[in-house]
Symmetry: D2
Subunit: 242 residues, 4 copies
């Protein structure tokens, strides 16, 4: 392991949106642990949440106790997301899509999209994100489309090859990390291991690059500036279609 | 227009994947022109292609004349894509999705995914990309999911809010840029104008940042290194699920 | 209103998966009410659920109290779904996709996919389904793809044009049913009203046709038969690709 | 093979939208052949098209020679689609989605959506459809969502479990029908064989049921009727949201 970069100035938050309450039974968690361990080797501070074990109601507001729910741990979880330079969302596949718990997470992240940083950018600017998806047969790309779109829409920068995961052949079958007679399911997938490694480093190094440069470049994305009439050089062409 | 950054070291390539052969009749082109003009104001060299007017067969190989087609302009077009730091894909919406011509473009880009740069990264590393989508009623987000996923999968870095476009109310109706009695359709959409501006600057500035730093950071994404046995610190956890 | 068919032998279940707890504030509910009223005019028995006001945990099992949850109303709700010939799922749009509550519903429906009817078919065979989607700007088609796919995958038959909804022009704006100075948002959309009508009648009449014919035709989809070795005439070609 | 229903009154059209020009090299074709053979056993008349070997330009008009193309075989192909009771679309997977050639097919089908039958319904009413998808690792469900949505949107009725296919474990690997040392890839997948059988019978039998009943039930979906002011019992609720 030569020249492994150390990036101690970075913080990462990792969400497992498994439907399983027992973390030990979550197949997604095994791949998330590999990512978490790699980040720690790069001296990044990692905080993990197993979403289904927190009281986080669905909704698109910062605090759902103001909308009829007794309890909402999101405001507390948000503090970590806000401080983190990196967001990793891990989800299982059901009917080829992310879990409902994953969509709750996305809704609650979206609830914060009005929060701006000191430069008038979305609070998510300068952060990087990626998606980790496991299932037994189909849907990594579909789910990555959905999750990566949501993250970049919020303000995250998405590095190359920002998704990874494992799925087996079509039909019912074992999941990633399942103990088999002749090994552990998916542990022999060079493809999964390589892509997970590439994804993790790309996310870490892009976060480092952005942070070293004082965040995402400011010009042109200052929402307050736009409201005040600044157009940053934009102009519509002087033509139309009859 | 204060402090408009000049980025003369950058090149951009813009594809219009409209189904219309007459560029003047393409609604998507009007928004692409606004982006192109803004990039030129930043002194970026811009090359544009109206795909449907080029002979580019479907397929996933670099040169389809080797697979039974008489003509293939892709190898020539590819030279521009390869040199460009920025890729903008513009598409209309049909049945809520990108055009078939847009999917031909994605297939031909994918055909080049085996090409590596001198650092063993995908040739697309260090480049940034975005999507421009217009239609008359529905599908910008769906299409952005597809296009941005494809680009990041290839190796492009996706900045925040990397899609823009215009759609009207549900049902048949005028398209972006259509001349109306009381104005031009979509030209009064502050949302479209703001998001187009933000997208364009984010793509340009991220491209500048990456180029200034010598491309996308190298460590961890060297495909040849992985093939040679380097794992860049990655390790699977020593546990499985019974 | 001439010759409005009466279909008193049919039952329908309608789910609103709004994130809003107050039914009166749900824009989706207004369109669902129009559908419900039309079904009642055809003498169909309609039962409605406002999902977010029921304790239905995420998960893919019939009863989540067996998996660590204190309460689960799904087993009770399921009785109605099981009896109903028609399923309508209504959802709002967030980030261009269905609500998390909608995905909980889909997970719980999926949890029942092992239940077979007396002919060895999935319990959902012979039933028909459709999707109702409202939002303020984008995503009806994307969401319809997801919901209709899930329904047909479970066993529902999908009639032509089985989705309807309302969205406005791109960007923030009023939602379906919002009171405006000069009318009610979306109420003037002939497109929405026509498609809602077509969808509702197509679902009702197809349900009637299937029920009149003793359910979905049996041959070829008897899962127990397949397990017992019956192949229903299926054979793979005797060739392969070198 | 007991009681295999005979449905000689039905016609089917099957499209292979492979990117490969040599039908013998198309993996998708092998599964399509199995379906075609099964249909023929039920005495259905089957016509097959290998799209990439026909001159069918992209576009959303019935005849693209009116829009600048020298040649367009679609008007001829359309005659078969119009007469067929069943439509099967087969596609390979590239980047987790259908081929560009498949999207050309969908565009050209969409081009015909203005054609009505004698009852004022879309010409596609009364027909049934399904999707066949093969690839080497991911995307059947995503692609089925897209294809089945498009078909039902046009007017096809979608029976239960109307998609089938084969994909292998994540990463590069053999495709369906590839000759291996120890067998043929995918030919041992009971899941693929069972689902293909169920899909084929469901599509055939639903087509038979609709045809036996004189097409899709008429009431409520007569577009001309709607234009003439008939509302088929539909009414919006008399309320709005403040």
């Amino acid at each position: 392991m030569t020249n492994l970069p150390k990036l101690p100035e970075l913080k990462a938050v990792i969400f497992n949106t498994s439907l399983k309450r027992d973390t030990e039974q979550s197949h997604t968690q095994i791949l998330l642990d590999a990512i978490s361990n790699l980040m720690k080797r790069a001296e990044i501070e990692v905080t993990s949440f197993h979403m289904v074990n927190h009281s986080v109601p669905p909704g698109v507001y910062p605090d759902m106790t103001e909308y009829g729910y007794d309890k909402d741990e999101w405001p507390e979880i948000w503090k970590t997301v806000r401080e983190a330079d990196i967001l990793i969302i891990g989800t299982p596949l059901w009917l080829g899509e992310e879990s409902s718990v994953c969509r709750i997470l996305i809704e609650r992240l979206y609830a914060m999209s009005g929060v701006l940083n000191d430069d008038g950018q979305s609070i998510f600017y300068g952060k990087t994100g990626g998606a980790v998806i496991t299932g037994n047969e189909d849907g990594i790309k579909h789910t990555a489309m959905s999750l990566l779109f949501a993250m970049q829409h919020l303000g995250y920068t998405i590095p190359p090859q920002a998704d990874c995961g494992w799925i087996g052949e079509i039909g019912p079958g074992p999941s990633f990390g399942d103990k088999q007679e002749n090994g552990i399911t998916g542990f022999d997938s060079d493809f999964t291991k390589r892509n997970t490694t590439i994804m993790t480093w790309n996310i870490m190094q892009l976060a480092h690059l952005l942070k070293s440069n004082g965040g995402f470049p400011k010009y042109g994305n200052d929402r307050k500036g736009w409201e005040d009439g600044e157009q940053f050089g934009f102009e519509l062409p002087h033509r139309s279609i009859d």
